[in-house]
Amino acid sequence: MPENITAQVEEQQALGGDYHLLRIAGPTIAAAARAGQFVMLGLGDPGEMLIRRPFSIARVIESAEGPVAFEILYKVVGRGTLAFSRLRPGAAMSVLGPLGRGFWLPAPEAPCRPILVAGGIGIAPFPLFVQQLGPAARHAEVIYGGRSAVDLPLAQWFEPRCGTLTLATEDGTEGLRGRITAPLEQALDRADEQEGSCVFACGPHPMLAAVARLCLERQIPCQLALEETMACGFGVCLGCVVPRRHPTDAFDRFARVCTEGPVFDAREIVL
């Protein structure tokens, strides 16, 4: 059950290149959060920001007593994120969360080797994913692409925590030159042999479409964290929909990203 609270900013960290990490107090949200879930963040006064903005829960902060806060990783792209970037510790935000269906981790009885695929700010849900994978993260493979070196703000964080980390930038300033599809294809081909790989992807729409295609072709399980413009975040505005692949009736033709997602099995939806 999501919680709707007024919460305090605990820390604001600029990571360079318009990327920021914002830490927000919220024990209940932090305790309940699953990787891939998100929060709606606002400034309280609807006069300043009428519609809240959705952000993945990037990491959970634990104290000796348990979870106390969570972080979001965000990129300044417009009015709302600009306003957020100006908040300082102590500032109040309105927070609703955790929301939506997160990634479902491989079941113990059917283990698989996780391949995490992130494009740009799509890296946001994966630190928590790695936290929640626990020791299994050692076997995980991370493929992380962006426009330029500056667009891979969390690369170092993953380095020591995962099995393989493959970076790719479109301008070649870091890692492989080009998109993540090439390294992903190689990984999937290896996966074909090893059996039991599964893909978790988050990033821009065209990237997700490419990832889905590659996985579906190979019948490799694939979960996608989608983005769609949201007004409410809890299923009532019907603004955030994505077409379902197999609708049962007219009402069902579209799924709500905020409640039925943001994570979908690639077979469920049409990208």
């Binding site: 603004g239 077409p243 007219a250 069902d252």
Partner: protein, 309 residues
């Protein structure tokens, strides 16, 4: 200790609401989704998402875009259809003792009549609100809502088949909203809801495309409030039935503003997305406002604007 403020309001046709603060159609789902945030009984009423005879898929995405102090939506009236509404949504709402107003949407008179007939006699429906004003569907109530004659026809047709209190929701995208209002009142509406959204459009200039798949959408939020207030003011001077005002309400001042120009009740719309519990909070704040201003009965405020000279 002062006597408690009376918040009850009379919407005509025997319908008394606990208080004048309702939630607007399409912004409060079927009500149940808001249970984590608000006790539904505290609200004057809940107007549910527009219901059509059969389930509807709505428009493809993107369906939303923010605008200065507002937002555009082009949901296209995605809804479960009247049958599933009656089976799945109405019983739990009834259990919770919520005052439920059903917003009805159709493509022609028959559709409105069909939904009204299906709902007739179903317990737990306090009133019908005919949406003759959605700008987001082809052949929608929108075109009906722009013609006094068509508004009168649909209103009268539903009037004939339903004993429920009948509200007609008006579009403000017209030259003379007073004419439409009068047509609905004359045809038997018990109350009028105004306003629905204003037609708007936003372009993604980088991609040179409309942001919304539907090209245009309906503008809501504080941006429209001054226009909505003017519309309620004008209609209040022209028709005698109760009005339910809405458009950009985000605080108690805004509610009082709509009451003063002649609304007997108001609906909170877009603001519920930002703060799911806002409507219930505003009920309390309205009571406090009245107390602070020496108003014992909220009905004293209705139409109480003073026009100088």
């Amino acid at each position: 200790m002062s006597t408690p403020v009376n918040l009850e309001v009379d919407l005509g046709a025997g319908l008394i609401l606990r208080n004048p603060v309702l939630t607007a159609s399409g912004t409060f789902g079927y009500g149940l989704e808001f249970e984590p945030f608000v006790d539904l009984r505290r609200l004057g009423g809940i107007v549910v998402k527009g219901i059509s005879p059969r389930p509807r898929a709505g428009n493809p995405p993107p369906r939303l875009v923010e605008t200065p102090s507002g937002m555009l939506n082009a949901i296209g009236l995605q809804n479960v259809g009247v049958e599933r509404f009656i089976d799945d949504k109405l019983p739990p709402l009834r259990e919770r003792d919520a005052t439920v107003v059903v917003n009805v949407f159709g493509q022609g008179t028959e559709d409105y009549v069909a939904v009204a007939e299906a709902l007739d006699g179903k317990p737990g429906v306090a009133a019908l609100e005919l949406n003759l004003s959605c700008p987001n569907v082809a052949h929608g109530g929108f075109l009906i809502g722009k013609s006094p004659k068509a508004v009168a026809e649909v209103t009268a047709a539903v009037r004939r088949v339903s004993r429920l209190p009948l509200w007609v929701k008006l579009t403000p995208n017209v030259s003379e909203i007073v004419d439409i209002a009068a047509a609905a009142a004359d045809a038997g509406a018990d109350a009028l809801s105004l306003v629905n959204t204003y037609v708007g459009m936003v372009v993604d200039v980088e991609r040179r495309r409309p942001v919304l798949a539907n090209l245009t959408g309906g503008l809501s939020g504080p941006a429209i409030r001054p226009m909505a207030v003017a519309a309620v003011y004008q209609v209040a001077r022209a028709v005698k039935i109760p009005l339910i005002g809405m458009g950009g309400i985000v605080c108690v001042r805004d509610i009082v503003e709509f009451l003063l120009v002649g609304a007997s009740a108001v609906q909170v719309g877009t603001a519920s997305f930002n703060e799911p519990g806002i409507a219930a909070r505003l009920v309390d704040e309205l009571a406090a406002w009245c107390r602070d201003h020496g108003v014992d009965d909220v009905r004293e405020l209705v139409g109480a604007i003073e026009i100088p000279r």
